[in-house]
């Protein structure tokens, strides 16, 4: 699928969401059920989940394009969590993926304890700030037990939630399991391709992709405003200072878009250290850009963008929230820095394993 086809895909998802957007419930305060249903009916909630696991199939790049589109419209629903995290975890572990909104989380060591009991499994612990936990039909949890990695499915009745929201009003609750006993079939050994690192990589990348869409939306809102509004008798777009802001906004936006695409390509090629590096670099760079994009967008919009009535804050508040989720720029910089200083930073940047290729003797 080339760039144009991906653009078409993005346009379709945008169209669905803008047609079905539930304005009453939107704005992040509750799940946007109408958009969700429309997307689900069109098969967009499980892109890249293979058909034998209940999905429509599709490439990672297609899934990435859908997540970018969801970021543009500020979809108030756990699309990344369903398609890209829970769907992937289940499908990779041989479990069919159910319909409906899902979420997923990895339990940090020590956070959640799981033991075998007579009836099946007993799970106990708290996982902090699980995205959309209160909106999910199933919470899929990746838990380590000795040397095993287990995929646990929890239903809303089995957990309690401690409230939490991100700056965009999206649900980020703590999931509390108090000695919950589950049937055997609710716990599966994770598939061979699944790891906590792999989960976090996907989660991190999902926020880069979402930010790339939100950034594009800020750019487009800002451009429209600059075009339509006048000040001192001239359209804003005529002011050199506004032109500079728009150009800078566009540059940073492009950097987030390309970072998301490039990290997706890297993950598509392999899920090892090169992908981990690329995703960390993309998130570090995108999180840094996100703050600038939000600030410049608001600067162009002026006081108007500062009200809940204007659409701008739906994108900027998501940028502010997502830049910190699954590691802010410092978090990823530290890991990149340690990686770069234990090997050759230039090889990391160009994606070259040391000694990957023999010198080409064919030159000249």
């Amino acid at each position: 699928m080339n760039g144009n086809e991906l653009d078409d895909l993005i346009a379709i998802v945008e169209k669905i969401c803008s047609t079905h957007h539930d304005r009453r419930h939107g704005d992040g305060h509750l799940l946007d059920r109408s958009s969700w249903q429309a997307l689900e009916e069109s098969g967009f909630t499980l892109v890249s989940v293979p058909e034998d696991a209940g999905g429509p199939g599709g490439t990672m790049q297609q899934a990435a394009a859908v997540l970018r589109a969801a970021g543009r419209v500020g979809l108030a629903a756990p699309l990344a969590e369903t398609m890209w995290l829970a769907g992937w975890l289940l499908a990779s572990s041989g479990v069919p993926v159910p319909r409906g909104p899902l979420t997923a989380a990895v339990a940090e060591p020590g956070e959640v304890n799981i033991v075998e009991v007579n009836e099946g499994w007993q799970i106990d612990g708290v996982v902090r700030r699980v995205p959309w936990a209160g909106a999910a039909d199933t919470v899929v949890m990746l838990v380590r037990r000795r040397s095993d990695l287990l995929v646990v499915r929890l239903h809303p009745s089995e957990i309690s939630l401690r409230p939490g929201r991100n700056l965009a009003g999206e649900w980020r609750e703590d999931v509390v399991c108090r000695k919950v006993v589950l049937d055997r079939d609710r716990v599966t050994t994770a598939g061979p391709d699944v790891s906590a690192r792999g989960f976090l990589n996907r989660a991190t990348l999902s926020r880069v992709l979402a930010m790339s869409g939100a950034a594009e939306e800020v750019l487009s809102v800002a451009m429209r405003h600059a075009d339509e509004r006048e000040q001192f008798g001239r359209p804003l777009a005529k002011f050199q200072a506004v032109q500079h802001l728009i150009a800078q906004l566009a540059g940073e936006t492009a950097s987030v878009v390309v970072a998301g695409q490039a990290a997706t390509l890297a993950l598509e090629q392999e899920s090892g250290p090169q992908a981990t590096f690329a995703i960390a670099a993309a998130k570090a760079s995108a999180s840094e850009s996100a703050g600038r994009i939000a600030a410049w967008g608001h600067q162009i919009l002026g006081a108007m963008g500062f009200t809940t009535e204007h659409a701008l804050h739906r994108s900027t508040s998501r940028l502010w929230a997502w830049r910190d989720e699954f590691g802010n720029e410092r978090h990823h910089r530290l890991s990149i820095g340690h990686q770069a200083l234990s090997t050759d930073p230039w090889n990391l940047i160009v994606g070259q394993e040391n000694g990957r290729a023999e010198a080409d003797q064919g030159v000249s």
Partner: protein
């Protein structure tokens, strides 16, 4: 529809082998003490001998047809070679504009004769061009060029002067933007001529930069005769030729890598230190490496677009704007973290590289389109004008 047309890409496997070759060449050069890595060496590192050796090994004119001395490699393979030369801080300035701009321009606009005359020499690193665009008082306003070419039998007589002409003191020829139709519109009256630097009436005066180096020149042209066969393309096409090359000129990895040798040297220093890595250093290195990775992906995406026949001039302008900021960021972040006072005469490579980088830094946001020009291009192409 997307406002921006960029798609990330990866280099072909064939680039890996070429990359290894150029690394081998560079290692050999360093081992033999033939060069010392420097910052901004694609401007400051003028070493015709190095350029010649590079040409001999087939690293110049990489994408050009074999019949003109090229290697018929893909632009993305060339990308790998270019970035390796830059990361290594190699002295590539002598041939830089010949290989990056003059060759491709000759291929697109030149006559068959011109191609046969000049391209093989450039590709083997023996023929060095310079480019005469800016003029005194023209600033960023290229269309205000006043150097005048007057019709004469069999050619043109040129009068005027060019400034900021890098490498003019080592070049054998110059592609000069001149005004061939004085009464025409600002853009339509411009043409590009190939001027023999040895011709009568050409005088090169050095302009010394604040780092003490001689990179730039003033080139004074006094009644210089240029025969008709040295007109590039058609008379009156100068503006179109010049602007069409901007995406090539602006998006290359050199637009973000001028200070990379400083970063790599600092990392080396930290790696070789026996002390455990302070989180502040890891943070700083991570910041720069992450940003470099992203901007390289952008530069690569533009290169891929160009290779596919698109003309992503807006995106190239963005890469250059962000790249120049990054080149400065490298300096600022590193200098804060090292307890060294920059000194261009120091024996310590890090101290010297830092000094070089700082003294070259003002140019990053001026050359190849100032920040102001680039942002105008971007905003304007998005509809804000």
């Amino acid at each position: 529809m997307s406002l921006l047309q960029l798609s990330a890409t990866t280099l072909p496997r064939s680039a890996d082998a070429l990359r290894s070759s150029v690394r081998g060449f560079l290692a050999e050069e360093r081992e033999q003490g033939r060069y010392v890595p420097r910052c901004d060496n694609w401007l400051g590192g003028i070493d015709p001998e190095f350029s010649r050796r590079l040409g001999e090994r087939g690293f110049l004119g990489l994408t050009w047809p074999r019949r003109y001395g090229g290697q018929e490699r893909s632009p993305l393979e060339r990308f790998a070679v270019t970035e390796e030369l830059l990361a290594a801080g190699a002295p590539v300035a002598a041939h830089w504009v010949s290989d990056r701009q003059v060759g491709p321009n000759l291929l697109r606009f030149g006559s068959e004769d011109q191609k046969r005359t000049y391209l093989p020499g450039i590709a083997c690193g023996q023929l060095l061009f310079c480019i005469g665009m800016s003029e005194p008082d023209s600033g960023s306003d290229l269309a205000s060029v006043r150097t005048q070419a007057t019709r004469a039998p069999g050619g043109w007589v040129v009068n005027g002067s060019k400034v900021w002409t890098s490498g003019a003191h080592v070049a054998q020829a110059m592609v000069a933007l001149v005004r061939t139709t004085p009464e025409a519109d600002r853009h339509d009256g411009l043409s590009q001529l190939i001027v023999d630097m040895a011709a009568a009436g050409v005088q090169v005066n050095p302009i010394r930069s604040i780092d003490g180096g001689h990179h730039f020149n003033e080139v004074v042209l006094q009644d210089v005769f240029v025969p008709d066969e040295h007109v590039l393309g058609r008379i009156g096409d100068g503006w179109r030729q010049v602007t069409s090359e901007l995406a090539y000129e602006r998006s290359g990895p050199e637009r973000l890598m001028s200070t990379l040798p400083l970063l790599l040297e600092w990392c080396k220093r930290l790696r070789e230190s026996s002390a455990p890595i302070d989180t502040a250093y890891a943070d700083a290195v991570g910041q720069l490496v992450a940003r470099c990775w992203t901007l390289r992906q952008m530069s690569l995406a533009v290169a891929a677009g160009l290779a596919d026949g698109a003309m992503p001039a807006t995106e190239a302008a963005m890469v250059k704007d962000l790249g120049a900021q990054f080149e400065r960021e490298v300096i600022e972040v590193i200098r804060r973290h090292i307890d060294l006072e920059p000194d261009a005469g120091s024996d310590d490579p890090l101290t010297r590289l830092l000094a070089e980088a700082i003294l070259h830094s003002p140019a990053f946001t001026l050359r190849g389109g100032t920040t102001e020009i680039l942002r105008k291009i971007v905003a304007s192409s998005l509809g804000a004008r």
